[in-house]
Amino acid sequence: MKELRLMKGNEAIAEAAIRAGVDGYFGYPITPQSEVLEYLMHERPEKRTGMVVLQAESEVAAINMVYGGSGAGKMVMTSSSSPGISLKQEGITYLAGAELPCMILNVVRAGPGLGTIQPAQSDYFQSVKGGGHGDYKLIVLAPASVQEMYNFVELSFDLAFKYRTPVLILSDGAIGQMMEKVEIGEQKVRLTDAQVKERCPWATTGKDANRERNIITSLDLDPNKQEIFNQKLQAKYKVIEENEVRFEEIQTEDAEYLFIAYGTSSRICQKSIQLAREKGIKVGLLRPITLFPYPSKRLLELSKQVKGILTVEMSAGQMIEDVKLAVECSVPVEHFGRMGGIIPSPGEVVEALEQKFL
């Protein structure tokens, strides 16, 4: 039988990173994600696997350490919470521009500004619409449980190296802080230098006599070349959109109304479904697991069967824009959310559904 542990979401991410054979973590503490760094420091991964764990002098330094490590073909990651992720945005767009694989975790807290340390989902725009400058996308994964926090670490690195792109795990303070049962996977051995060279022929692993030197940069001053590069990036995003959409459906078979929610909100909606169905309201849930690429196609199909869609987000309503685009105005779409670190209760969500559609 596999090993089961009771862990916080933040701890699960950290343990999963060690087990996945990650080479380096660079971070800076901020509530509510400090347990990632604390757990890693406590576990002494330099002894367990040789993994480097470093508390950088700032968020900006941390993300640029990720750039350096990734440029050398290593499996590297960073984590922070909203204000810290804002600081990292320059580094993130450089990573995207240099096509560097890495994992970034955002355990979202309420904003804007320093906001508060309580959970929110108000960084959706920043995550999926490009938090930094330029035409780039991140693959964005939205875990809804501690087990998914664990599982998505390895998935992130698989996708990051498959597509040479940064991958963002968009979590929030609730999933970071809550404890659930986690099934722990096998310990993977970190890649050898030879394996890194084989997986990343583009990386700065030391020039061999039989090849040109590799250059890691996001700069090309020739507009013609820069446009070709941009087209290549866009083509890559298209392939990602075709192949990597992930979502979960709950009680959609007979649904007359639909909740759309990710992460913590999707957990609340599961309870709301139970409460609404006790009242005879047939409602289901579409939970996007990837926020980019977005499950627009399936959403459009489902919109044909339902009378109304309620997006539930811990924000003023951000994902609702993608929902409206996906359903092409074929059905009314409304938003319900709480802000400022307040988590909506399942009862409130049912009330909102009744108020807006019944």
Partner: protein, 184 residues
């Protein structure tokens, strides 16, 4: 079976660790568990609470409006959580420091004088285990042997010599829990 519990009191009473032991016990017997603490500045003000859900099925929302059971260990928590017990649900409290006793007529109410009892034991740190014993007497959702297994998992090894005294405290809790108000 799904049991949704709020445990609320002062920081230092062992509220969070009681929740963890419940969860570990649930894991030992193959159940799904969820532990959601209040975190943030309010902890420094003195109160601490944790939502614990133990279920045979996948657990949905970590945030809930109504609880099957509220375990209340100070007056602030009584004021905040008495109203959040489901009609027909259960409230368990310790009267130490309580100035206003529960007033609901539509719930089952039990008293566990754990603070007084803990003062008679080897260490007053057994307070939360006495409360846990009282809870398990009323709601035997996890078996006693699994609680001991849960204790072993949640306590660092250097405290394993404390397991017998904790076990004794849980048993004592089962003995001293008193019925205050039982619905028909």
């Amino acid at each position: 079976m799904t049991e949704e519990i709020i445990i609320a009191g002062f920081g230092g009473q062992g509220v969070l660790s009681m929740g963890k032991i419940m969860c570990y016990s649930g894991i030992v017997q193959g159940q799904e568990v969820m532990w959601m603490p209040s975190y943030g500045p309010e902890m420094r003000g003195g109160t601490a609470n944790v939502t614990v859900i133990i279920s045979d099925e996948r657990i949905s929302s970590p945030i809930i409006n109504e609880f099957d059971t509220a375990i209340i260990l100070n007056q602030q928590s009584m004021d905040k959580f008495e109203s959040m017990v489901k009609p027909g649900g259960t409230l368990i409290y310790d009267s130490n420091g309580i100035t206003r006793h529960p007033e609901r007529k539509d719930i089952n109410i039990y008293l566990v004088e754990a603070a007084a009892e803990a003062a008679k034991m080897e260490t007053t740190k057994t307070f939360n285990m006495i409360i846990l014993g009282g809870f398990l007497k009323i709601k035997p959702i996890v078996k006693m042997e699994n609680v001991i297994a849960g204790l072993k998992k949640s306590l660092p090894e250097r405290y394993h010599h404390m397991i017998p005294v904790n076990e004794k405290a849980v048993k004592r809790g089962t003995e001293i829990v008193q019925e205050v108000q039982i619905l028909n």
